[in-house]
Amino acid sequence: MKSRLQVGFLLAALSLAPAAHAVGALAGAQIQNTAQVNYIVGGSPATTNSNTVSLTVNEILDVVATLQSGDVPVAPGATNQVVVMRVTNTGNGSETFRLVLNSVLPGDDFDPTPSSPAIYFDSDGNGVVSAGDTPYVAGTNDPTLAPDAFVRLLVLNNIGAALANGARGFTRLTAESLTGIGNPGTVFNGQGTGGTDAVVGTTGADSFAVGTYLVSDISVTANKTAVVTDTFGGSRPLPGATIAYQIIVTATGSGTATSSVFSDAIPANTTYVPASLRLNGNAMTDAADADAGQFLTTPARVSVNLGNLTQAAGPQTIRFSVLIN
């Protein structure tokens, strides 16, 4: 019953990997072998089974933390800057992991300061802290992951005020198996799934990923305007009226805002006008394809990939229309 509840929680709050277990035999599984011998004695065929040998599959403790963000461009003094990480249970049993954040690391130019709270579960997987994302509290909601399952995490740091353009700051997230960590082969007797022994796997039952903040003296602003055209030639927001939106995205500074994506929700009680999306006057299809823009459903929104934005590239103008229902 307990494990069922855990699965329910995982489905609700965490991203789950496909059901196929790359890890193979699950902890607690029994491997049984019975051979059979066939022969003829005195003209009569006979068959005898061997004894049945039963082996128990122990739990192997393995975890992999991976960085999901590239270098995160940040402005000096910026707060709650997000690095996306992922922690995957690569062992063969359900396991709980402790998460540890450290932003005081050698080899970088500055030390980011962890926000408070500093780690969030990215339950909707959108890469930013949103309303449903819960903060991680060590010892309280340590993530329990089924074999092969992963959890997406948002690591938040504040950036110092007086930093030079191009300065780098590292932040490190470590995941440790709550059962124990150690050299591969270390055994925790009886502490594995279903009373099996837990054995530390090749990862040492802990793993870390390091994210990088790159100080980039660049700020991106978006200015949105709307023009309403009703069916009577006026500008009243009546059912059937069209709202034409224009958003001007401007980058200011000497750096580069890498992999910029503009995303805007279609307002409630309106419907996106198909094929109305424009970037700098150029039409784009609604499908996800070679052009930069697309219209997406659930939730309804438009998205335009603006790529690497610089001040030199100039303002980017996005237009789309919706119909009032």
Binding site: I31, A35, Y39, V41, A46, T48, N51, L55, V57
Partner: protein, 170 residues
């Protein structure tokens, strides 16, 4: 007259032998069943340093394993009857959660064959897997489901025939 006696004696012998067979069948699960005792043993290899500091590998009984553990399965067939056993063959399904290690199957004096369905046994070159697009190929090691050792000679009373294979826990 002489011929007639011989016939009677012959019938009497036939009657005796069938009676004894029945008696034996009544006390055992099947006729002649159990003349070969088959024992299966699972071991793993463990390396350690001996007194001279040399790396030595020894086999230890397997009970608990983890994915990646290589298990050596040894089968020994002993004839415990007073009569020789002919046409002896051992079938061993590849245990669940395990993958057979190619070229690890041993059996002195036995013809070794494989199966991917538990029905048809053949040498690897003669087994084929049909892909979704209709093409055929030889099976991968993880597709073997059974191994068979067919012993070329009879196993005499008290004699033992052995077979082994290795498999890895998935």
């Amino acid at each position: 007259m002489k011929k007639g006696y011989a016939l009677v004696v012959g019938l009497a012998l036939l009657g005796l032998s069938s009676a004894s067979a029945l008696a034996e069948g009544a006390t055992r699960p099947g006729p002649k069943a159990g003349c070969i005792e088959l024992k299966s043993v699972a071991e793993t290899e463990e390396s350690y340093r001996d007194e001279q500091g040399q790396q030595v590998v020894r086999r230890v009984p397997a009970a608990k394993v983890v994915p990646g553990t290589q298990v050596i399965w040894t089968l020994s067939a002993t004839n415990i009857c007073a009569t020789a056993a002919d046409n002896v063959f051992i079938d061993n399904p590849v245990p669940g959660h395990m993958t057979l290690i190619a070229d690890s199957v041993r059996g002195l004096g036995a013809d070794i064959s494989y199966s991917i369905d538990g029905k048809q046994f053949a040498e690897p070159e003669q087994l084929h897997v049909t892909e979704a697009d209709g093409t055929t190929r030889q099976p991968r090691a993880d597709e073997y489901t059974h191994v068979r050792w067919a012993f070329r000679n009879s196993i005499g009373p008290g004699q033992l025939a052995a077979a082994s294979f290795r498999a890895i826990v998935r």
